[in-house]
């Protein structure tokens, strides 16, 4: 370290440390062995946790410019707005971002959390255990053991003094120190009760986003908050301090941090897939696998295999033997259901109008689904027959839902890819499980999707949202087709494959397809507004985008948008809910508010574990 880090002191190092999880930007290094350091910079006294893979050597002069990506994300505009074009050489994590860490029961892994429900880094210690790192951290940081989980150590900020009069709210029992929260608490405690309550609620909001010490370097959002607090205090001084206006300023229009580009990674290859399986063919690290797919998709020749896992045909943890059994059972079930309608006598069908209607709907759509693809072209096409049989059997599988227009669009790419009736049926059924609310009789599912889309748009791009509103297009109906068949009609087939498998990973958040929609709409903004398009023109313009969109560019931007939203200091629970981010208590009564801080921190940790990449290692 010393030889490539000028003015920086190495406080600790340990080799044989495997990177198990970090931002997906580092995916190429996951499961790679490397050396872990704690470093301190002489001039700023900033401390970092750094990890370098064994495979990479770092040159001394490039050190400072090699801002690691973790930092670039969390620091918003302060750091270089673009991650390095070249591959990242190592991880450098500002200790100020770490809010808690967890030591596994076997003492062989350590996980660092950001306090917002995200895992920053997760390491596995190949040689022995993490005791020495733990000891080093204890020496550098003041920590307290979580009340919920004795393996979790919450970092206590020493830059602010805990105000004793609020000590009944004893979050940090064994410490006189507290986080920035207490700074707020102190500022507000002498204010009129009413104001303090309101303000406290607002602080509650900020904790999740800015649970960070106020020591330098400050993330940009935190400066905003600090300024807001100054505003507030000024207001209090100059007036009676009870006016809601004084602190309402915290809720000004959301300004997102600048957009980072997230270039797509390499597709999951056959070799990588093989390496992900244990000796019996179980996928060991499901979340890692999904993350890889999120970043780079799946190699075309491998899709046939992996889609069966993505679409719940095979469980991820099934062994080779399990899969044989499962396949046998699925084949049997499929053919049983198929026989149920195939063997109906004409007079039975004649007197069974609900079934007859459903089957005729299938017939009408099958004959006009993707017939321009050679795979489905021509008379007496056997693939078309398979499509029809699958959809009719699906009617028996889920009679209440039956067949609804749009379903043949969802099946067509699956059948094309898998080229097997039974496989395609069950994968289609798995896909339908995810999207069946799109086909609700009362359109409730689609309405929810459209309104969620509007909420996200309004948060991330208020200008466009209000333009659409003024053009009676705030209902977002012009996106109906996108959402109903998940962009199937907007891209050529291989791009549809790509987009679908990314969305199925559920990374980096829930409802990622809504962010994809926004990424597409943003690009149309200047045309919408410049040409003063109204409801009709907008719908036509959007329908006509079909075949003109670049899937990789859209995915890059959608991912960038996700981080912008997540890092916004104005993030609302409404938005969090849609994206599946941990919620923040908006207003909590005085007496249990500190509990709610720990609750929240813990909920975030739990969430991080849910999102987390591991269940069992070795």
């Amino acid at each position: 370290m010393e030889d490539n880090c000028e003015g920086c002191m190495e406080l600790f190092s340990q080799d044989g440390v495997l990177l198990k999880q970090a931002h997906s930007y580092y995916i190429q290094y996951f499961n790679e062995s490397g050396t872990l350091y704690i470093t301190e910079y002489a001039n700023t006294k900033d401390r970092f946790i750094e990890w370098k893979p064994n495979s990479v050597t770092v040159h001394s002069d490039s050190h400072d410019s090699e801002w690691s990506f973790v930092n670039a994300i969390y620091r918003g505009e302060q750091m270089s707005p673009q991650p390095p074009d070249s591959k990242p050489k190592y991880i450098k994590l500002d200790m100020n971002q770490v809010r808690s860490f967890k030591v596994s029961k076997k003492n062989d892994t350590m996980t660092f959390f950001d306090g917002k429900g995200e895992i920053l880094c997760h390491f596995f210690f190949q040689h022995g255990n993490c005791f020495s790192l733990f000891a080093a951290l204890k020496g550098l940081l003041k920590t307290t053991v979580s009340k919920r989980d004795k393996n979790i150590h919450i970092i206590v900020d020493e830059t602010l003094q805990l105000n004793k009069s609020f000590a009944t709210l004893d979050l940090f029992q064994d410490s006189q120190s507290a986080s920035i929260v207490w700074g707020f608490v102190r500022s507000f405690q002498e204010k009129p009760v009413e104001t303090a309550f309101g303000a406290f609620a607002k602080i509650g909001n900020t904790i999740g986003n800015n649970f960070m010490p106020s020591s330098s370097p400050q993330p940009i959002e935190e400066e905003v908050i600090t300024n807001d607090v100054k505003e507030y205090e000024r207001g209090v001084e100059s007036s009676d301090g009870a006016s809601p206006k004084d602190y309402e300023i915290i809720h000004s229009s959301p300004e997102l941090p600048s957009r980072l580009q997230y270039p797509r990674g390499n597709p999951l290859s056959y070799d990588q897939w093989t390496a992900l399986q244990d000796s019996e063919g179980r996928i060991e690290d499901v979340e890692y696998t999904k993350l890889h797919i999120f970043r780079g998709g799946i190699a075309p020749s491998l899709r046939k295999v992996v889609w069966k896992y993505m679409l719940d045909f095979y469980p991820w943890n099934s062994s080779n033997a399990d899969r044989k059994t499962i396949l046998g059972k699925k084949e049997q079930d499929y053919y049983d259901m198929k026989l149920q309608w195939k063997t109906l006598k004409p007079w039975q069908l004649q007197n069974f109008v609900q079934l007859r209607d459903r089957l005729s709907l299938v017939e009408k759509d099958v004959t006009r689904t993707d017939r321009t693809l050679p795979f489905y072209a021509g008379d007496n096409n056997k693939n078309l027959q398979a499509m029809s049989d699958i959809l009719m059997t699906y009617v028996m599988h889920n009679f209440d839902l039956g067949y609804v227009q749009g379903m043949s669009d969802l099946l067509s790419p699956i059948l094309y890819l898998l080229q097997n009736e039974v496989d395609a049926f069950w994968c289609f059924a798995g896909f339908m499980e995810r999207v069946c609310t799109n086909f609700d009789a009362d359109q409730a599912g689609m309405k929810t999707q459209l309104s969620n889309l509007y909420i996200l748009l309004k948060f991330s791009n208020p200008t466009l949202a209000s333009y659409l509103d003024n053009q009676e297009s705030g209902n977002m109906f012009f996106c109906f087709r996108w959402l109903l068949v998940l962009f199937k009609r907007e891209f050529e087939l291989h791009d549809v494959f790509r987009l679908w498998e990314v969305v199925w990973t559920n990374h980096p958040c829930n409802n990622f397809h809504l962010l994809i929609s926004i990424a597409i709409l943003e690009k149309q903004q200047s045309e919408f507004i410049g040409e003063e398009m109204g409801f009709n023109e907008i719908l036509k313009h959007v329908n006509d985008l079909s075949g003109k969109l670049d899937v990789n560019d859209i995915l890059d931007n959608a991912e960038g948008l996700y981080y912008q939203i997540r890092e916004s200091s104005q993030l609302t629970n409404e938005v969090r809910q849609i994206l599946g981010l941990p919620l923040i208590a908006e207003s909590s009564p005085k007496d249990d508010s500190t509990d709610s801080i720990e609750n929240e921190l813990m909920a975030n940790v739990d969430k991080a574990y849910e999102n987390g990449l591991h269940t069992s290692y070795f």
């Binding site: 709907l361 009408k364 759509d365 004959t367 006009r368 689904t369 993707d370 017939r371 321009t372 609804v404 227009q405 749009g406 043949s408 669009d409 086909f439 009789a441 009362d442 359109q443 009676e472 209902n475 109906f477 012009f478 109906f480 087709r481 109903l484 068949v485 009609r489 109204g534 409801f535 009709n536 023109e537 719908l539 036509k540 329908n543």
Partner: protein, 218 residues
């Protein structure tokens, strides 16, 4: 959505050429799935027919301009998804429409029943002066006919609907049914209605003449 009716009211503009008036009408296509709604529009607007026309998801919007005597009529056409499951979206599209074409497939009796239901719904819920045309499509398949011409004609007469049998495939009666609608639309009244609402739509200068030349202006 509430304002859509007023916003798309007919506009009347002298465009400085010999053509005189320009009228703009909103027309919606309704009818059971796969009867040929999209195909009729495609034939009318682009002169094309696709054997495997894909199903309509959500809705499509197209425009076509025709000339009628000294008037240029611009149709703003909404093509909808026909399946019953998407019925609840239909009012959004027929609200404020001055004309509707309700389509059935002459080879399928059920679709005729469904067409009658659409007519009833329009009579009850659409604009009171809406001009409704009934189209018995796929006339080229008359050898498989399940709905008799007279039956449909009688029904149309009882309900004062325009009626034609059409074929998107052979183009039979396609332009004719749109023209018949254009003739029946009260151009002057509509125009004054629009100015009353103060919401006449802007028409680009080049927009009218060029497209009109395509289909009906000889």
């Amino acid at each position: 959505m509430e304002n859509m009716a007023t916003r798309t009211q007919t506009a009347q503009r002298p465009n400085g050429s010999a053509q005189g008036k320009i009228c703009q009408f909103k027309l919606v296509l309704l009818g059971e799935s796969a009867v040929g709604k999209s195909s009729l529009v495609l034939r009318f607007v682009k002169g094309q027919f696709h054997e495997y026309q894909e199903s309509t998801i959500g809705a499509a919007f197209l425009t076509q301009t025709v000339c009628l005597d000294d008037t240029t009529v611009k149709f703003e056409i909404w093509d909808t998804a026909g399946q019953e499951r998407y019925h609840s979206l239909a009012p959004m599209y027929y609200r404020g429409a001055q004309a509707a074409i309700v389509v059935y497939d002459i080879t399928n009796q059920d679709t005729f029943g469904r067409a009658k239901t659409w007519v009833k719904e329009l009579q009850r819920q659409a604009s009171p002066n809406i001009v409704i045309a009934l189209a018995g499509n796929k006339q080229d398949l008359a050898n498989k006919r399940m709905v008799e011409f007279e039956e449909a004609q009688n029904y149309a007469d009882e309900n004062t609907l325009l009626f034609m049998e059409t074929s998107a495939k052979t183009a039979m009666n396609v332009n004719d049914i749109f023209l018949a609608i254009a003739k029946k639309l009260p151009r002057n009244e509509q125009a004054s209605g629009a100015s009353a609402s103060g919401q006449g739509r802007r028409l680009a200068e080049g927009d009218t003449g060029a497209r009109a030349a395509g289909s009906c202006c000889k």
